[in-house]
């Protein structure tokens, strides 16, 4: 963390960046009116504010989400702190020509797992659980540590998040394989049970680094593709559309599921599509910023066994 603080100070002092998007400690109000200290995104433009920076288990957020927001477009050069998993989202945005690499100063950190939980839980940084994305990521990396490739980022800091490794969650939700095995009607009943809880607060859409459309098709009223009131029909359509618009793009950062106030297993849909895309087209999103996006390319011999 010392290294991170020093580097960020240097960057701001020398005017290399105008804004740093990083993780920091800040006071936020909770339901009973008192304030708690929590870890979250902070935006720093002055050298004096750098002391608030942290890099610990609470840094689960994907900060890439802010890069496409209008408020941050006015800064000429933005410094951003990313975990190896978040970095993939930058690649997808570059594939889709949404951000200019020259405008970014990327600080890549190493990571071996973060903590996901409610604010009350994370304030003590001990009682939450490890999100699904970290479990998958740890399994895929040697020694369970993911590191940024130094050539990809402007500055790689090989420091792991502070704090104890959180425990893995107890399996309440079925996995993709389990869902694929049950009958079609049971599956429909499962999703209906989940989708009917949805409030249509669109937190999943707001937090997604890849949902950057200025007007979402789900907000349109003429024509109205997706029913807008929070009832089961509209919710069902919304979540299918959301999952499909992320097909071949989603980098499995898990933010949608983390912010969902109703606890819908949204990453299940995304992970299912990631799996199918890999199976059908041997494509993984977020690995190569120069590659054309999945839906903008084709192979003459793509699978068409399902077509009459």
């Amino acid at each position: 963390m010392e290294k991170l603080n020093t580097h960020v100070k240097e960057l701001l002092k020398n005017g290399i960046v105008d804004l740093i998007i990083a993780y920091g400690q800040r006071e936020i109000p909770i339901a009973n009116g008192s304030m708690v200290t929590s870890v979250g995104p902070i935006f720093i433009t002055r050298e004096s504010e750098v002391g608030q920076l942290v890099w610990n288990r609470g840094c689960v957020h994907n900060l890439v989400t802010y890069l496409t927001k209008k408020d941050y477009k006015r800064y000429e050069r933005i410094g951003i702190v990313v975990k190896p998993c978040d970095f993939k989202a930058i690649n997808v945005l570059r594939q889709e020509h949404q951000i200019d690499r020259q405008r970014l100063f990327i600080i890549g950190l190493s990571c071996n797992g973060t903590l996901s939980g409610t604010i009350d839980e994370t304030m003590g940084l001990g009682t939450g659980h490890m999100p699904r994305k970290c479990i998958d990521c740890r399994a895929a990396h040697e020694g369970a540590i993911a590191r940024c490739v130094p050539e990809d980022v402007d500055l790689a800091i090989d420091e792991l998040p502070e704090g104890e490794l959180p425990a893995e969650p107890k399996g309440e939700m079925p996995g993709i394989e389990e869902l694929e095995k049950i009958s079609i009607d049971e599956r429909r009943a499962f999703w209906q049970g989940q989708f009917q809880k949805c409030l249509r607060c669109y937190a999943c859409r707001s937090v997604c680094p890849l949902c950057y459309c200025e007007q979402c098709v789900c907000d349109m009223s003429q024509p109205q593709w997706v029913d807008r009131s929070p009832h089961l029909k509209g919710n069902f359509l919304f979540h299918i559309v959301r999952a499909f618009h992320l097909t071949g793009r989603c980098v499995n950062c898990g933010e949608c599921e983390r912010v969902c106030p109703m606890g819908l297993p949204l990453t299940l849909l995304n992970q299912k599509m990631i799996k199918d895309v890999k199976e059908l087209y041997d494509y993984e999103s977020g690995n190569d910023p120069e590659q054309a996006p999945l839906m903008s390319q084709f192979k003459v011999d793509d699978d068409e066994s399902f077509i009459k």
């Binding site: 009607d185 009943a189 593709w225 029909k233 849909l269 059908l280 077509i307 009459k308």
Partner: protein
Amino acid sequence: MKKTLDQANISLKDQHGKDTAWKPSIVAFLCNWCSYAGADLAGTSRLKYNPNIRLIRVPCSGKVDPLFILRAFADGADGVLVSGCHPGDCHYATGNYFARRKFALIKRLLEFCGIDARRIHFSWVSAAEGGKWSRVVNEVVEAVHQAGPFPGFDVMQDPEKG
């Protein structure tokens, strides 16, 4: 109760002899250049096929956004068929290649969400394939008939009863 088409057509007459059997309504998106002309050929050739299908002409199968498919189901369709030119024959050269990826993935996603795969069909029908068109329609109608009426996204169904 699930019946095959033949059984359904001879049964379920009401007291006035009117046929009350459930007939699926299927929305078909046809590309202007091949499949629509193929369906036209089926008509001018006096080929017979099941009438439970409603055709919508689109410029290219690449124009068919998966939203169209979802909206058709939301508005009460029991099944959807999308038909375009054979690969390599697209009027716009590559439209159907891009469409093919979208179709493969939306079919899998809908299946994962519990929409019966028998309701979602894709086909390549050229302008010369009137016979294939009538065969495809019969197959699709049969498959949707087996799947039964689409209950809608918002009707909770007891998985025990299917």
